[in-house]
């Protein structure tokens, strides 16, 4: 068990490394010069020549200060020009300890503390530190993700059990076809439809169309409980949209699992012993069919996170999804890269937790069996 945990955590590291290097590459590939964006140079007609010269000086200074003239990575493939007038080019490798990636990742001790300490630089558009911006906004994404996944498990486990225990009933058939339909519905369409139906003055205007709390803020005398009550109408539609896909998916999985378990030998034995049907289902089949649901968590979790981009921008929820959408539109690359890195990190952690929980729940699983895809 401990060996498994160690190896699992060890395998988590290369994924993390690739994620970090990929984020850095994306940051470097992003169009536009970061110093230009930070100084917001005006090279138009209104700037006089002296001002332009000053700004060019500034740019040079800051490029040097921020280390943007350094080599990009530890290893570089450089082309040496040999011969008269450099007509022959010979490839070679140069190594440099002080480079842009190193400064970006570990900090330069002067202007940034490095990604490792959670410093992603400064947003181009709001001039706010990126980690502060994300710290404000990550809570909504986490809230909706966890709440919807929690809700999905809460609803779909009893529902799947009920359907599987009596598959011939009208209730089961109705539900199955309903959930198969539900699973194919694109969430952004459902969100738009719900807004059209319930937040539209032409049809029904019972729910607010956007945001997560009253626009004018809470009344000053409201206590914690009142605030939650005031926020509920804002949360109804997003919660439905965030969770219905997972509910449909999980119900189907649960139903498949229980049906599968019910056809096994030990269930027949349990029935032959004379146990009641209720006891057979709840004490035998139910427990064994729970294990795969843990693995499913690792596919539900990233789904919920990336689904948030669309849903948050539809409902204007100030979370990570809306942040990445807005910063993509305003070409605010430090924020984009930060959100990308953090989302990847959360997904990776979700995988890690899932795998550990899986072994914890089913000790028969050995590392070699699980880790090979």
């Amino acid at each position: 068990m401990q060996k498994y945990l160690l190896r699992r955590v060890f395998y988590f590291l290369p994924s993390l490394l690739v994620l970090v290097v990929l984020s850095f590459t994306l940051l470097k590939l992003a169009p536009g010069d970061p110093v230009d964006r930070m100084l917001e140079m005006h090279t138009g007609e209104e700037a006089s020549t002296t001002a332009q010269a000053y700004q060019a000086e500034q740019k040079k200074f800051w490029t040097k200060q921020l280390g943007l003239d350094l080599p990009v990575f530890y290893v570089q493939i450089a082309i040496h020009q040999v011969g008269e007038n450099g007509s022959w080019k010979i490839p070679g490798f140069t190594f440099s300890k002080d480079n842009q990636f190193h400064r970006w990742f570990f900090g330069d001790g002067l202007y940034s503390k490095g990604v490792v300490r959670g410093d992603f630089g400064i947003s181009y558009s709001t001039r706010q530190p990126v980690n502060q911006l994300i710290g404000e906004r990550i809570k909504w994404t986490l809230f909706f993700t966890f709440f919807s996944v929690f809700l999905a498990y809460l609803i779909s486990i009893p529902l799947g059990l009920k359907i599987a225990s009596n598959p011939q009933s009208r209730f089961a058939k109705l539900n199955l076809s309903f959930f198969t339909l539900l699973f194919a519905l694109p969430s952004f369409w459902i969100a738009t439809l719900l807004l059209m139906l319930f937040a539209n003055p032409d049809i029904l205007a019972i729910l607010p169309p956007s945001g997560v709390m009253p626009v004018n803020g809470f009344p000053p005398e409201a206590n914690y409980f009142d605030k939650i009550v005031l926020m509920i109408p804002y949360l109804i539609l997003p919660t439905i949209c965030f969770s219905y896909g997972s509910i449909a998916f999980l119900t189907k999985i649960m139903q498949d699992q229980v049906t599968d378990e019910l056809s096994k030998d030990y269930i027949r034995t349990a029935r032959a012993k004379g146990l009641s049907e209720r006891s057979v289902i709840y004490r035998h089949a139910f427990r064994n069919s729970l294990i795969p649901l843990i693995t499913i968590f690792s596919s539900v979790f990233p789904l919920a996170i990336s689904g948030s981009v669309i849903l948050e921008s539809i409902f204007t929820i100030p979370g990570m999804g809306l942040t990445i959408f807005e910063s993509i539109l305003s070409q605010d690359y430090p924020v984009v890269i930060a959100v990308f890195t953090l989302t990847g990190l959360i997904t990776l952690l979700g995988f890690l937790i899932t795998d550990i929980a899986y072994v914890w729940a089913d000790p028969r699983i050995s590392f070699s069996k699980k880790i090979t895809v």
Partner: protein, 419 residues
């Protein structure tokens, strides 16, 4: 290896299959189904087909012998004095504005057009916007028809790309396993010492600067290929037994790690980030979706190969000294078709969903292309335009559901296997 054609299973195409193939047909025939320019026109005993070619004008020989050149975009075909005219079923292009039916004209409202004498009259049924219009008067039905084409194009091409990558990598990993692929140490040395510099050198080889860049790239790649060919035919294979001994490459573990890393990257966020940085175009979307969805296919093909690589027919193929590529793709691939088909169908559904989400957000998809997602997004600006919200969603749902249904069905379909 003979194809088994003699056994045919009786299959009844379900209604969802029919719906899917209808969508494919609509996508193929989109320019014939919805076109602003008529498919056939007869003027002064001359036939034209302005809707079927890309020429920007038509030249009519008049009764007095003079030639009259007309720009296609300037002709109002609704009032065009033709002897005989054959319109497409929907007489509008997607996204083109209609100044007389602007501001979200509902399908049930009265629609207007300008007659030849300049007065405004109600549209005849032939030219009606059957499913209403958008803000600029763009026909919704035309958008839906051309959106089908866009969705299916992106879904199918990106999964095609994903399956090329996935089948290749999964095939190598599954067939060779961790111990199957070994390589002489000499070759490893050779690759490190000689190949890398040679490739780099030929990529930096001085070229005359006035060549066009595409030709330069081609020439450089040609250089690389020639040098690779020359080097691999190198006669020297070393006398020392150390260089002759082999090292095994654990391709299987390597691929498993790569797949794990790829799965853990947040797909939609990565696609959004890339799409925001690269200039939006159809090729970009296909590349990005294709590159991020090959893992599932590689996994499945690898797992299937694990099942079959010790089978007798594989062994006999190996005994006949067939190259691994031939065994993998001509002997083993046909046996793994059934689960791969399921994955491909679900993959297409996923790619279409991602594409429509991207165009709904307006990121990565060119602004002038009308898709289901962009129609839906335009409906979000005006909630009273229910036809803009309801219809693209229904189309998307039908396509996705039919794909899901086909995938779930072919899971249970028995495919006879003979060895």
């Amino acid at each position: 290896m003979r194809r088994r054609r003699n056994i045919k299973l009786k299959r009844k195409a379900s209604c969802w299959h029919k719906i899917f193939w209808t969508f494919c047909l609509i996508a193929l025939l989109a320019p014939l189904l919805s076109n602003r320019d008529p498919l056939l026109v007869k003027v002064n005993n001359q036939w034209f087909s302005p809707g079927l070619n890309n020429k920007p004008y038509i030249i009519i020989e008049q009764a007095n012998g003079q030639l009259l050149t007309l720009r296609k975009t300037e002709i109002d075909w609704k009032t065009f004095p033709a002897d005989w005219i054959l319109f497409a079923p929907v007489t509008y292009n997607p996204g083109s504005s209609d100044p007389y039916n602007m501001n979200y004209r509902s399908p049930f409202e009265k629609q207007f057009y300008a007659t030849s004498d300049g007065s405004i009259a109600e549209l005849p049924a032939r030219h009606r916007h059957w499913l209403g219009t958008g803000k600029t008067g763009a026909d919704v039905l035309a958008g839906l028809i051309h959106g089908t084409r866009f969705s299916l194009l992106i879904g199918i091409l990106s999964i095609l790309m994903a399956s090329v990558i996935g089948l290749f990598l999964g095939g190598i990993a599954g067939y060779f396993g961790d111990r199957g692929l070994s390589i002489k140490k000499f070759n490893v040395l050779f690759i490190i010492i000689l190949l890398v510099p040679v490739i780099l050198l030929s990529l930096n080889f001085p070229m005359p600067g006035n060549l066009p860049s595409a030709l330069q790239i081609f020439l450089r790649l040609l250089l690389v290929a020639i040098q690779l060919l020359l080097l691999t035919k190198l006669p020297y294979y070393g006398k020392s037994s150390y260089l002759q001994s082999q090292i095994t490459i654990p391709v299987d573990s390597i691929l498993s790690r790569i797949i794990e890393i790829f799965i853990s990257l947040p797909r939609l966020v990565l696609i959004l980030t890339l799409a925001a940085m690269i200039r939006p175009s159809v090729t970009t979307i296909i590349l990005v979706i294709g590159l991020s969805s090959w893992t599932e296919l590689a996994r499945i093909f690898r797992a299937e190969l694990l099942k079959w690589r010790e089978a007798l027919f594989t062994e006999s193929a190996r005994a006949m000294a067939f190259p691994p590529i031939r065994i993998i793709f001509f002997h083993l691939l046909p046996n793994a078709i059934a689960p791969l088909r399921v994955a491909i169908i679900f993959g297409i559904a996923g790619a279409i969903l991602v594409e429509s989400a991207l165009s709904f957000l307006g990121i990565g998809v060119p602004q002038d292309v009308v898709t289901w997602g962009s129609l839906l997004a335009s409906g979000r600006e005006q909630f009273s335009a229910w036809w803009l919200i309801l219809l693209p969603g229904i189309a998307l749902f039908l396509l996705l559901y039919s794909l899901n249904h086909m995938g779930a069905q072919s899971k249970f379909r028995k495919i006879p296997v003979f060895h």
